[in-house]
């Protein structure tokens, strides 16, 4: 168990060194990055928007429900909704959802290419397959995920406003006052650091599992599952580490 863990960590690090080798032809890579931004990023806009809006609404209603003493001002609803969204909900929970969506896509794409010898074919042509296949995906995710997470934050806060105002739990002006209160730009910095690290983990870990798939269609499915599970675990662990480093 420990031996296999160390084996995977070692092979993962070696693969990452391959991935960040100097690419063969830069113009090709820029085009690949664009393609991956579309595949991994734009394709996720819908699901991220949907989940964020609804979760923001639920957060706001729960906050309002918990505040039943007049000692706590009502703008706290807006304030706490914003804080939960910025610090944890958008960067961590949305990244976990992206781990499911993007991770399974990356792992199964690479896994299929491995078992159908497409990766061998790339290598035979004289191209480093790790760089060619994984590098553009990592860069695309690291560039696009912060934008997705920003969008998620805005929509979640908006969802909270919608729920608060429509149910009459809080007035628009009080909620807006709350979301502006005690604003620290460091919180955004913290959230973005997490987002970028998680984006890297999702694509590199699921890429690793896809890249080293052995066998056939069944194993591609297994790789895809491993990619999602292991990148989710890595997100949870790094969430704790980064929070300790950046906030404590």
């Amino acid at each position: 168990m420990i031996k296999s863990f160390l084996f995977h960590i070692g092979r993962y690090i070696l693969l990452m060194r391959q991935v960040f080798k100097k690419p063969e032809k830069q113009s090709i890579y820029i085009r690949q990055i664009m393609v991956e931004i579309e595949n991994l990023g734009l394709d996720s806009v819908g699901i991220v928007a949907f989940i964020s809006t609804f979760m923001g609404a639920v957060l706001c209603i729960q906050m309002a429900f918990n505040i039943d003493t007049p000692l706590i001002p009502l703008y706290t609803i807006g304030f706490v909704t914003r804080q939960s969204v910025v610090l944890e909900f958008s960067p961590t929970i949305i990244s976990l959802i992206l781990a499911g969506k993007v991770g399974s896509r990356v792992a199964s794409e690479l896994g299929t290419m491995r078992v159908t010898e497409q990766i061998d074919a790339i290598e035979i042509i004289g191209i480093n397959p790790a760089t060619y296949l994984i590098f553009p995906k990592v860069i695309a995710a690291v560039l696009i995920n912060p934008i997705l997470i920003m969008m998620s934050m805005i929509l979640a806060v908006f969802g909270g406003w919608l729920a608060g105002v429509l149910t009459g739990l809080v007035s628009s002006s009080v909620y807006v006052y709350g979301i502006k209160a005690f604003f620290e730009s460091y919180d955004i910095f913290y959230a973005m650091v997490k987002t970028v690290v998680f984006a890297f983990l999702i694509v590199s870990i699921s890429g690793y599992h896809g890249f080293y798939t052995k066998g056939g269609a069944l194993e591609v499915g297994a790789s895809s599952t491993k990619g999602v599970v292991h990148s989710s675990i890595a997100i949870i662990v790094f969430n704790l580490i980064l929070t300790k480093l950046l906030l404590a």
Partner: protein, 247 residues
């Protein structure tokens, strides 16, 4: 000329290639035959460096390929074309993009130049009007032909084909065999073909190497193979009624 010298390769304690030495000559179809599981694919992958060999040497001319780094191998690999057992076309690219892929990566040709070359290679394998289709939209035989077109796009000196006609009907299989044989002579390529199809052996076997128990068991051409008195080879060659009748 490609040469394997005393090559051994094992997976765990399963020894697949056992101190095997064999040479492949330019301008000829060098066939590797042997039973399923005898190590033909493993040998081919060792020759092109997809598998690392445990001991021995692989030489391209006088260049020792098996000791090279990835960067050094890259130079030789640009002289290599390979046709994989399953075709290995890139699913996300159309037929013409597949053929143009090596050109895009290694030349500074403009798109019209690359298209020209791709169209030439596709017409060479007698595949027209399929340029814009994706691999999922074409038949098995067409895939093999696209894969050949991609393999010859860079004008390789060395062509490797792993079971070029497995899973094809006899007519199409024969067309593919002839095609490879023609291209080999036309460009004086060193072509190495894995097969267990006796038809191919008799049609295009300029030089045949029979692999058995991880070693080169017999070597000769299409005429001598039917007259050999090697018992293991005869068992392989005359396994079917058809070849027995031929004798």
């Amino acid at each position: 000329m490609i040469e394997a010298r005393n090559v051994s390769k094992a997976f765990g304690d399963h020894l697949v290639l056992n101190d095997l030495s064999v040479k492949f000559e330019p301008g000829k179809c060098n066939l590797i035959i042997g039973q399923s599981g005898s190590g033909k694919t493993v040998l081919m992958k060792c020759l092109v460096g997809l598998f690392e060999i445990d001991s021995g040497k692989v030489l391209y001319g006088d260049r020792v390929f098996s000791r090279m780094s990835f960067e050094e191998m890259k130079i030789i690999r640009q002289e290599i074309g390979m046709l994989f057992q399953g075709g290995a076309l890139f699913d996300s690219m159309t037929v013409e993009e597949n053929v143009m892929f090596p050109l895009s990566m290694f030349t500074n040709q403009t798109l019209p130049e690359k298209l020209d070359r791709a169209n030439f290679c596709l017409s060479r394998v007698k595949l027209e009007n399929a340029n814009k289709l994706y691999p999922a939209e074409i038949s098995g035989g067409m895939k093999k032909r696209v894969a050949i077109a991609r393999a010859i796009a860079m004008n390789p000196k060395y062509l490797f084909c792993d079971e070029p006609n497995s899973g094809l009907d006899p007519l199409t299989a024969n067309v593919i065999d002839k095609l490879i044989s023609e291209i080999t002579q036309e460009y004086n390529m060193t072509t190495v073909i894995n097969t267990h199809d006796m038809n191919s052996v008799i049609e295009i076997g300029d030089r045949i190497s029979y692999i058995h128990k991880g070693q080169l068991w017999w070597q000769g051409d299409k005429d001598s193979i039917l007259k050999s008195d090697n018992p293991e080879l005869n068992q392989f060659v005359f396994a079917t009624e058809l070849t027995r009748k031929l004798k």
